[in-house]
Symmetry: C2
Subunit: 340 residues, 2 copies
Amino acid sequence: MSNIREVPKLEDVAKAAGVSTATVSRCLNTPDRVLEGTKLKVFDAIEVLGYTPNFGARVMAAKRTLTIGAIIPTMENAIFARGLQAFQEELHDRGYTLLVSSSAYRPDIEEEQIRKLVTRGADGLLLIGEDRDNSIYQYLKRQEVSALIAWTYSADAPLSCVGFDNRKSMQLLTENVMAFGHNRIGVISGFTKGNDRARSRMQGIREALMSNGLDPGELAVIETSYEIECGAKAFDQLMALERPPTAIMCGNDVLAVGALKRARERNINVPGDVSITGFDDIELARIVDPALTTVHVPHREMGRQAACVLVDLLEKNGEPRSIELQTLVQIRGSLGRRKI
Amino acid sequence: MSNIREVPKLEDVAKAAGVSTATVSRCLNTPDRVLEGTKLKVFDAIEVLGYTPNFGARVMAAKRTLTIGAIIPTMENAIFARGLQAFQEELHDRGYTLLVSSSAYRPDIEEEQIRKLVTRGADGLLLIGEDRDNSIYQYLKRQEVSALIAWTYSADAPLSCVGFDNRKSMQLLTENVMAFGHNRIGVISGFTKGNDRARSRMQGIREALMSNGLDPGELAVIETSYEIECGAKAFDQLMALERPPTAIMCGNDVLAVGALKRARERNINVPGDVSITGFDDIELARIVDPALTTVHVPHREMGRQAACVLVDLLEKNGEPRSIELQTLVQIRGSLGRRKI
DNA sequence: GCGAGCAATGTAAGCGCTTACATAATAAAG
DNA sequence: CTTTATTATGTAAGCGCTTACATTGCTCGC
């Protein structure tokens, strides 16, 4: 067929090596079922012809793409970057390629992206958090696409999880904040709608307050989007209250850095006048001055494990398997003893 | 064929709508060649059956995947994040999906990733910088994969570029530094081997020195990898010199932030005792105290334009088209007048 | 009113691989 | 030495689309 100078196909390799197309295919996919001598001939021919398997044909015949999709809220800040990088590295080691989309924290965009990646033939999907319409989970099941939830660990999530307990982590951090004498706490949270991580963290704070006999109803809470400038603005709002908080707990490090920045601009001393805490422990947390008290999340480990679990899931067709990773409260300079 | 409850295929849609498979395919791919009434019937059938085209089959028949690959040095720091995000958004708007890999700044890994993404059927590729083995460019040409270089603009690059002039930008920044009275300058550069951006920036510094009658041979230069800790370490080395520099210019903001951090730890005043500059103007640059003097790079614009050019390239089979974006020197607190 | 020209649709031939099944060759068992 | 199990390889049937080409039914100009 392809007698002239064309991209060589499997058939050409077979002809050159003097074997059948099936044998060439087996050399590529199940090499242990082929005799050593035959393999040698075949790989020689492949080398000589410069053959590369045609992706589309392979996908169509084998019904899998060796591709994994990830949909993350954003690539712009560092929150997901490190985990995603580790995820990609591990996938690569296992022969998979990573398809990436971002949803800008919007459920509608996320859904669109999920459908798109599935249509594009992703064998599996990495999703952030568990909070999404049930119809999406049904869709994934119907399409027989394995999916995994990261950044959240929840025993009764609709899919396997590789993540951590956002509520417990924040609760622990709050206990620490209170141990420094703070009982008038302000909170700068990410939007909780459609974001179980933000919601769990809020709940962690409330539970810590309650178990110390404080009324969570008195908590000053501002919800905003995860941007530095928004953190700064929210800081202003909290400090403008009649009785401003002595400690401000933020939904993540990005918000906390925004608050810290504004405090510096306004010459409000941290932690002298007000303490500030974050969540995630991204690199930024240790660069700002004072360094951020925050919750350390093992991002790389999470990304790596997520890749392992997801690949196992779809290769071994294994049952759901979840992994809960441990976080660690990191006390640094931005948290200080309450004055008076 | 698929009489039972199966994933519906194009043939099923055709049957349900009472048309041929070709017509259904045309409704999907070239809708203007189909009568309005026919289209209605077909889309109805698609809706009812919940049909989604099979990716593999489509790729095989149409010989394109509507997928673009990007290989960036790293996802971990913010340098490429914003541009990549914009790139992805624009691709999405144009119906393409993004495949992402990272090379850890290593040419061998980059080459492997390039081949992998091509094998995976990427229609086009986004590459960072132009500095790579010529055999790779030949490979891309042979495979007929369109590729684009970003983060670098060079008139004689082997491919279309969407980027900026690293040399000129750094030269301009250096002029500014010298205008503040500095003539003993230290440099913390990224590794220049295999990295034309790092090399061009160095060259920009040297040229600025020369055109001001200074000897670039006296420049204290340390090459290191783009990590905060490495910037800190290099700062120590430069300050340990017999005659330490009065200004330290860094290859990017990450290195600069590292240097700044170490200065603070050592109680060395910036810019009082030493000035520090960066490159890129990532968010970080405005968060640190003092804020970084740096070169502003229009990352989002670059990512967006790169997507436009690349898609045009492979859809219109257009000739190479390059875009040079302008940078802007941002003078901020980390650069001060030389003492004495 | 007829043939040219055009628009809408249908027919069917691939696209390049994987894999179930058939076959051949060899080893193990009786 | 035959029978059976086992292993290595070959044969060929799809996988579900796209698209070149064929066909049909119009509209129009003269």
